[in-house]
């Protein structure tokens, strides 16, 4: 299969249009990204980091790309109205892959803080854009860089703390309201750049939401620079539908004594691939990377992480948990690389999984690669079923089998959610997870029924 050809053709034919509707700093790296994409092509399943998800297949269908940046009218409040409530956050919207200017929160951000479109801050982004996300090393990052025309910029200056969490709703919508004719399936290329100066703090929550039932293909590249003693909470919650494909690459660079909490929650999806590359560049930094996945039917969720300890005295902690039902497929491949000289590294990686049926599949691959001799590293993985003895104990007390399963699955996933620092999100997730296990979240497919 040569899925890349249609994207190469598209770029060659529409290059000028892409350039015309994008800021200069994004255009500056575009041709190089195209060359890198052409040279690499999509990875086959023989490529180590892509062995559990067939990218060739995901990118093969013919999707429309909104190169001319036609506006798709949407009322974001209505579109996302139904499941994620107001968490008393500062709320922003990204519609498909464009920052949505029309609705912005009424709160005042601390002085100097920027939450806005990449288009509006051209001088600033040239310094950071596409530096962490190297187009020569990943075909999806290259493709995203070659096609992305807008995106979200988050900047927090030195020693500024943003107390109120920033919530960004990524809305997927292909069909304009009152559309007269069929619209094509849609590909979007989202881009996020986060820059935290020394001592800066911010909490970000991204919620992926689909507002109609077309097929979507969303690529996403998030680059985050976390300065000395800065603190970043980055939560990504996906609640889309079975016809959605999400391929996300997150790149994080941590300077000395910085802290990062990264949480990826997949509550409802079609096919999802989340890649995280996190590098410790300064000593004394810490990261906690958590993930939870609830999947059923034919859903597919692949989390792939790489944590590089370049310097001594850093701590990384990973916990990913999956509950797979029906014919769902899950994959977790995590690699911790402790480089030469990165002494006194502490690292823990845990992946635990429940498969509820014989047809559900889990692939798990925890990896440790250590080139230093004074470190404390552990990794482990389990795949199992619900505890029969516990199920029976509950049934003997009158709890039905279905309810007993629900309680056990909830308890299993809650271990991840309880770690989350963002309190309103934590409470909300407890509720959403229970609803998901009860099968009630499916009823709200793309909010179609709520309209």
């Amino acid at each position: 299969m040569a899925s890349e050809q249609q994207y190469i053709d598209l770029y060659e034919q529409a290059r000028q249009m892409v350039f015309d509707h994008a800021p200069e700093a994004m255009n500056a790296v575009r041709d190089q990204a195209f060359e890198d994409f052409k040279a690499q092509g999509f990875p086959s399943k023989r490529v180590e980091r892509y062995k559990y998800t067939d990218l060739q297949k995901l990118f093969a269908p013919d999707y429309g790309v909104n190169i001319n940046r036609l506006e798709i009218p949407v009322d974001p409040y209505e579109a996302f109205h139904c499941d994620v409530p107001n968490l008393s956050t500062s709320l922003y919207f990204v519609v498909n892959d464009a920052f949505y200017h029309k609705v912005q929160p009424q709160v005042h951000l601390p002085e100097g803080v920027i939450v806005g479109s990449l288009r509006d801050n051209p001088g600033f982004i040239a310094k950071y854009y596409a530096r962490l996300a190297k187009t020569s090393e990943d075909a999806v990052t290259a493709l995203n860089t070659m096609l992305a025309q807008d995106g979200l910029l988050v900047y927090v200056p030195k020693n500024v703390k943003v107390d109120r969490a920033i919530q960004v709703i990524n809305i997927l919508k292909a069909t304009p309201q009152n559309a007269q004719r069929q619209v094509p399936d849609l590909m979007v290329n989202r881009r996020v750049l986060i820059v935290l100066e020394e001592g800066a703090e911010i909490k970000m929550l991204f919620c992926d939401h689909a507002a109609d039932d077309k097929n979507f293909l969303a690529t996403q590249v998030i680059e985050a620079y976390v300065g000395d003693n800065a603190s970043l909470d980055l939560y990504c919650l996906e609640e889309t539908h079975a016809k959605n494909v999400r391929v996300s690459n997150v790149y994080i660079d941590q300077q000395a004594n910085s802290r990062v909490n990264h949480n990826v929650i997949t509550l409802h999806n079609g096919t999802t691939r989340n890649k995280l590359d996190l590098t410790f560049s300064g000593e004394g930094a810490e990261c906690a990377c958590y993930g939870c996945v609830i999947a059923d039917k034919q859903q597919h969720v692949d989390n792939n992480t790489l944590i590089v300890h370049k310097v001594p005295h850093c701590t990384s902690n990973e916990l990913y948990k999956y509950v797979l039902d029906d014919q769902a497929v899950g994959a977790f491949a995590g690699r911790v690389l402790v480089e030469h000289g990165a002494q006194k590294t502490t690292s823990q990686m845990t992946n635990q999984n429940l498969t509820a049926t014989r047809e559900a599949h889990m692939f798990t691959q925890p990896m440790l690669e250590i080139y230093a001799d004074d470190v404390k590293c552990a990794h482990g993985s389990t795949v199992g079923q619900l505890n029969d003895a516990a199920l029976f104990y509950m049934r003997q007390r009158g709890i039905s089998l279905a309810e007993a399963k629900l309680l056990l699955q909830n308890a299993f996933i809650n271990e991840v959610i309880d770690h989350m620092q963002l309190e309103p999100l934590r409470d909300r997730l407890h509720y959403l997870v229970e609803k998901r296990f009860r099968g009630e979240l499916n009823k709200c497919e793309g909010c179609k029924l709520c309209k």
């Binding site: 505890n387 516990a390 509950m394 003997q396 009158g398 308890a411």
Partner: protein, 252 residues
Amino acid sequence: MMLEVKNLHAKIGEKEILKGIDLVINDGETHAIMGPNGSGKSTLSAVLVGNPLYEVTEGEAWFNGKNLLEMKPEDRAHEGLFLSFQYPVEIPGVSMTNFMKAAINEKRKYQGLEPMNAAEFLKLQREKRKIVELDSKLANRSVNEGFSGGEKKRNEIFQMAMLEPKLSILDETDSGLDVDAMRIVAEGVNKLQTPETSCIVITHYDRLLEMIRPQYVHVLYKGRIVKTGGPELAVQIQEHGYDWIKEEIGEE
């Protein structure tokens, strides 16, 4: 008649363990079941409450006129059957309170009642906890997780108090308990006794039976009830073991 068991046979895997049990229990009665290790005591209790590990191959069991063997385990519980487990199961991540709330409300649903409101539930929980002197801190902990052996057994009786069963089966509830804990458990069970409720006590020792006084003592041996007597039978077994009973029935 509360429970009537007729010619009950059951196996686990290919191994037949119960080989024809006959047992009748009336309202308000307490029965003790004793017997050497491996004679089938725990299997009998497991089969009555519907543990899916065991397969009934022959016989019947009727509970207040209903066919027990056709009911799901949860419905047997709703009908008023309770088992105090020999080894209570730890359930990490599920709090005692949520667990009990789910149990109570499912039973109420079965009875066609509205769920109990939170205040009522907490009050009930507080009252019942006193019966077995259970620490209120345990309510916020996960079910049986990190409980001591004694706390686990007291927690079983606490659950019994909450659910108010008609027939309770205590499967070696005395094992692993010190004298004081055993007294608390026994007193708890006695407080819960009414003329309408019955109890089956499975034990190896007559000490518990001195505190929970049964009207009948049965000896289970090789999957059958081979001898039935009054409380004095428990004392004889404590003094002489089981050999004389084996001889009586014509075995070594």
